[in-house]
């Protein structure tokens, strides 16, 4: 249960590092992040990634009851679309009233359980690359009604209105698949530097700003952004305006630890700069970043796995003996959409020993059936399970880190075992996706192919993660119509009739 914080309580964020392998420099560490009014977050930990303010497929009651998610990443671009007929309207979220239990407009609008910490950024995770890029005083965002210019000043004022617990100032990012050239990288650093200066000077002029700022670290080399980072360390750390760092590339962290060690005493959040990165992220990457010292991870693959019909199956530490035998590598996830007998009729949980709602109240056969029937509940149950696997994974990591005392580095030993035990990549999901989420997955370059196969076509190779032309995925998913009594497309089932004892073939 959450403690309601009385109005006017300006208690600040607290971050304690409870233990780390090395005292200085970059290293895995155990910590606790406490934000006023929210459940404290033991770190390392993960951040749930929302879409339009919701953890996909999960109603807020299910989040409260069945998810051990400590924080939620939200994107302002999910709330500020301008429908053509109502292009002058102020986005409704800005006028959200607060209540005693839901003390901020962002929490109140999204009905996010009060125990959950909100992290607001301008862009979704992963973000669609803007075709025209940013300008000196604005970034380009992608809403459900298309690309929109978001002046950095407007973003700041949105943050001040919505009052997320943690806000990430605007960063000049390309979000593209290729690294920017050095000229572009330099401009990214300069612009971001200017925007962050503007951010802090505006904040210092305003009276009410209880939220915490996690400054962006750009996905470019340290040598190009060192001036910006030095400013953070010299100006905003001493003034207590800076509360954490948000990394778009965690590999910059060792250099920061070497040059401005004071910055790595802050809580460190890992984000992903591009769609490609988020599609290739695995728990192996996460473990590596933990050993660099990252405390919090926004992990888009959790939602993506559920959408693909995958149940995550990895745990930390890996099951005993898996690394000493020469057996096959363990899969990181199991594809519940496959019509194998350990899916179709299995009353077993999705993953061994999992204690989540899905695994204790339901079984593989049901989730397989739901995926096969394209019932939305399949994705809900996978979301519950997959978030539970992440929570258990991070609990395992923290337990290993807690054993570090005495110099022996338990975590690093187990991390190596994990690397030997599990496959390097996720299996590709066969299941039809719940919705192509057309606009959100809009392709920048094109040519990626359609995300869902045509209805009732033969399920062939793995779906590609990007939807080429934003086909009407939403109406097929959210308002999916396989439904009740009068479903469409039922005709195509008919072939299955014979094999299933439903009806006999005559003659």
């Amino acid at each position: 249960m959450t403690v309601d914080i009385p109005d006017g309580d300006q208690e600040a964020m607290r971050f304690e590092i409870l233990g780390s392998v090395l005292k200085d420099g970059a290293a895995a560490r155990l910590g606790r992040l406490t934000l006023p009014g929210r459940r404290p977050i033991d770190t390392p930990n993960f951040v749930g990634v929302t879409s339009r303010g919701v953890l996909p497929h999960l109603t807020p009651d299910n989040v409260s009851k069945h998810l051990q998610v400590s924080s939620a990443y939200m994107a302002l671009e999910d709330f500020i679309e301008k429908p053509q007929q109502y292009s002058k309207r102020v986005p409704p979220i800005f006028s959200t009233p607060t209540t005693t239990k839901q003390g901020t407009p962002l929490h109140s609008f999204t009905a996010m359980p009060p125990s959950v910490t909100t992290i607001l950024s301008a862009r979704r995770l992963p973000a669609v690359p803007p075709p025209n890029g940013n300008t000196n005083d604005s970034i380009s965002v992608f809403t459900s009604t298309g690309f929109q210019v978001l002046p950095t000043k407007e973003y700041l004022s949105a943050v001040q209105t919505l009052k997320p617990d943690i806000a990430i100032p605007p960063a000049d990012l390309t979000h593209g698949p290729v690294a920017p050239n050095s000229k572009r990288a330099l401009r990214m650093a300069e612009r971001t530097d200017e925007w962050v200066v503007e951010w802090f000077s505006s904040l210092s002029r305003s009276s009410s700003s209880p939220q915490s700022t996690f400054a962006p670290v750009l996905p470019i080399s340290h040598s190009i952004q060192w001036e910006y980072l030095a400013r953070l360390a010299e100006d905003y750390l001493p003034s207590s305006q800076l509360h954490g760092l948000a990394f778009y590339d965690a590999d910059v962290l060792p250099d920061i630890a070497a040059h401005t060690p004071s910055l790595v005493q802050l809580p460190l959040l890992s984000l992903l700069a591009s769609q490609i990165q988020s599609q290739t992220q695995t728990p192996h990457h996460i473990l590596r970043q933990i050993s660099l010292g990252i405390d919090l991870f926004a992990i888009p693959f959790v939602n993506a796995a559920s959408d693909a019909g995958l149940a995550l199956t990895f745990r930390f530490p890996p099951p005993p003996h898996t690394t000493t035998t020469n057996g096959p590598l363990l899969p990181l996830a199991t594809d519940l959409s496959l019509p194998e007998s350990n899916n179709t009729t299995s009353l077993a949980p999705l993953a061994e020993d999992c204690t989540c709602y899905t695994c204790t109240s339901h079984h593989r056969a049901y989730v397989h059936h739901l995926l096969s029937a394209r019932e939305m509940l399949g994705w809900t149950l996978l979301q519950v399970h997959n978030h539970a696997v992440m929570a258990a994974f991070f609990a395992g990591v923290r337990a290993a880190l807690a054993e570090v005392e005495g110099g022996n580095d338990k975590f690093e030993v187990l991390r190596k075992e994990f690397a030997l035990a599990y496959e390097p990549d996720f299996p590709e999901g066969m299941a039809q996706r719940p919705r192509a989420r057309g606009y959100q997955y809009k392709s920048a370059g094109g040519g990626e192919g359609k995300r869902n196969k045509p209805a009732w076509g033969k399920l062939g190779g793995a779906g590609v993660d990007v939807d080429g032309n934003g086909e009407a995925g939403i109406s097929r998913g959210g308002a999916e119509e396989t439904t009740g009594g009068m479903a469409n497309g039922e005709g195509a089932y008919a072939r299955d009739l014979e094999g299933r004892g439903f009806a006999q073939v005559q003659n």
Binding site: R52, G53, V54, P56, H57, T59, P60, N62, F79, Y86, R89, P92, S95, T96, P97, Q102, T110, A111, T344, T345, Y357, S361, H362, Y366, H369, L370, S372, A373, E375, M376, L377, G378, T380, L381, R435, S475, G478, A479, T482, T483, G484, G485, M486, A487, E490, G491, A492, Y493, A494, R495, D496, L497, E498, R500, G501, F502, A503, Q504, V505, Q506
Partner: protein, 416 residues
């Protein structure tokens, strides 16, 4: 088989897998309040049964469905026969186990879906014949197949395979054939039914809009003494006046101590009028389907949350609604969902559909709970009048069919 016994304040009757206890009767209309005890627990009647077609209620977890107070929901035999299929149902141990549902399930026969979904279906004495649209193979669903599948599903109430025609069919001879065939098929279903000790086979009264044929069918079906009775073939586009006449003609003949199920009914005013006419059980996909189009059912009518009107409306979906979405966030187990939030995500995130589904199912169940309470307190006519007052701002806009039907059972909606 049907031993009625009088108890201190109630009367009840039992069959091997069901007890029906009549708790109260409206002193004006034919409305009844009862308790139907099925193998998976008691169910207060009258009741609306949400339709979990493919063993899932459109994104709600069984736990959320249970939270609405639902104790009896529908699965569709046709769909479960295809996915996951009889073999899997047998291996898993039936539909309750498949979907983790501790309460009761009712299944239809599958015949209606055949006829309505597969345009090439035709009906012979053997069963429903159709050509597989996939490869043109002739296929057949017989009463025996239907019961065998429903036995595998393990539903608490199973339905006979019937010969369904649209009520508006002008072919009287065909209508009679369908009615008589449905009676013959009931006999085949009874003979094929393997678990009468734990599954209740309900007959289905047919006969189109011809009241005499309906009465004749009632007599034939009643002679077979099934534990419950359904009125079928309605909700197929007939005039509401005709619908009410059929329901009234049937309930007049039906025994007091058996549950009466009007199939395919779900609009709130249809439910309220049908209860007044003496029906107990209803099902319809409309409340859950309309949720997915962004529609919220409220006592003042259906509101489309996608309209711009609701974009910055920070009130609950329905004022005073007791569902987990609408109650203020301060209350235990409540979410404090606003219309603005539903608007924001309608047709964009599945969560908006889930929330409206939850609200709509709650609305339907709560409407029947209120009707039941009103019957028990013998103030059902007041309940009906208040229901119509809320739904229509002007008395002049009350639907004529409802006024007529209710007048027939002693409620004058227009009386001042």
């Amino acid at each position: 088989m049907w031993a009625a016994r009088r108890m201190a304040s109630t009367i009840s009757a039992s069959s091997p897998a069901l007890t029906f206890e009549l708790v109260a009767r409206c002193s004006t209309t034919r409305a009844r309040a009862s308790v139907l005890t099925l193998p998976h627990g008691p169910v207060p009647l009258p009741i609306f049964m949400p339709v979990a077609t493919q063993a899932s209620l459109k994104g709600l977890t069984p736990e959320q469905l249970e939270g609405t107070g639902c104790r009896l929901c529908l699965n569709n035999t046709y769909h479960l026969g295809l996915k996951p299929g009889q073999e899997v149902l047998d291996a898993v141990g039936g539909a309750h186990k498949l979907q983790g549902w501790k309460h009761n399930i009712l299944t239809d026969s599958g015949g209606f879906q055949m006829v309505s979904l597969l345009k090439l279906a035709n009906i012979t004495e053997q069963g429903v014949r159709f050509l597989s649209p996939h490869d043109g193979t002739p296929m057949l669903l017989t009463p025996e197949h239907s019961i065998s599948l429903q036995n595998s599903i393990g539903s608490d109430i199973i339905m006979q395979l019937d010969d369904v025609l649209v009520t508006t069919s002008p072919d009287k001879a065909r209508m009679r054939e369908a009615m008589e065939r449905s009676v013959r098929w009931l006999d085949r279903c009874i003979a094929a039914h393997k678990h009468p000790d734990r599954q209740n086979l309900f007959c289905i009264i047919q006969g189109g809009l011809d009241l005499d044929m309906r009465r004749e069918c009632c007599r034939e079906m009643l002679a077979r003494d099934t534990p419950g009775i359904a009125i079928g073939g309605l909700s197929g586009g007939e005039a509401k006046d005709d619908f009410c006449k059929v329901v009234a003609a049937c309930t007049e003949l039906l025994p007091d101590l058996k549950p009466r199920y009007v199939m395919g009914i779900g609009y709130p005013e249809d439910l309220v009028v049908s209860v007044a006419l003496g029906a107990d059980m209803f099902d319809c996909v409309w409340p859950t389907r309309t949720a997915r189009f962004g529609n919220a059912i409220t006592k003042h009518g259906v509101l489309n949350m996608k309209r711009e009107l609701y974009a910055a409306d920070f009130g609950p979906i329905e004022d005073g609604c007791g569902c987990p979405c609408c109650r203020p966030a301060e209350e235990e187990g409540a979410m404090g969902i606003t219309r603005a939030f539903v608007h924001h995500n309608a047709a964009k995130e599945t969560v908006a559909a889930h929330l409206l589904t939850l609200h709509n199912v709650w609305y339907q169940l709560s409407l029947m709970r209120q009707a039941r309470e009103a019957i028990i307190a013998d103030r059902f006519p007041d309940f009906v009048r208040e229901f119509f007052r809320n739904l229509y701002p002007e008395r002049s806009s009350y639907p004529a069919w409802a006024v007529t039907a209710l007048k027939g059972v002693g409620i004058d909606l227009l009386e001042t």
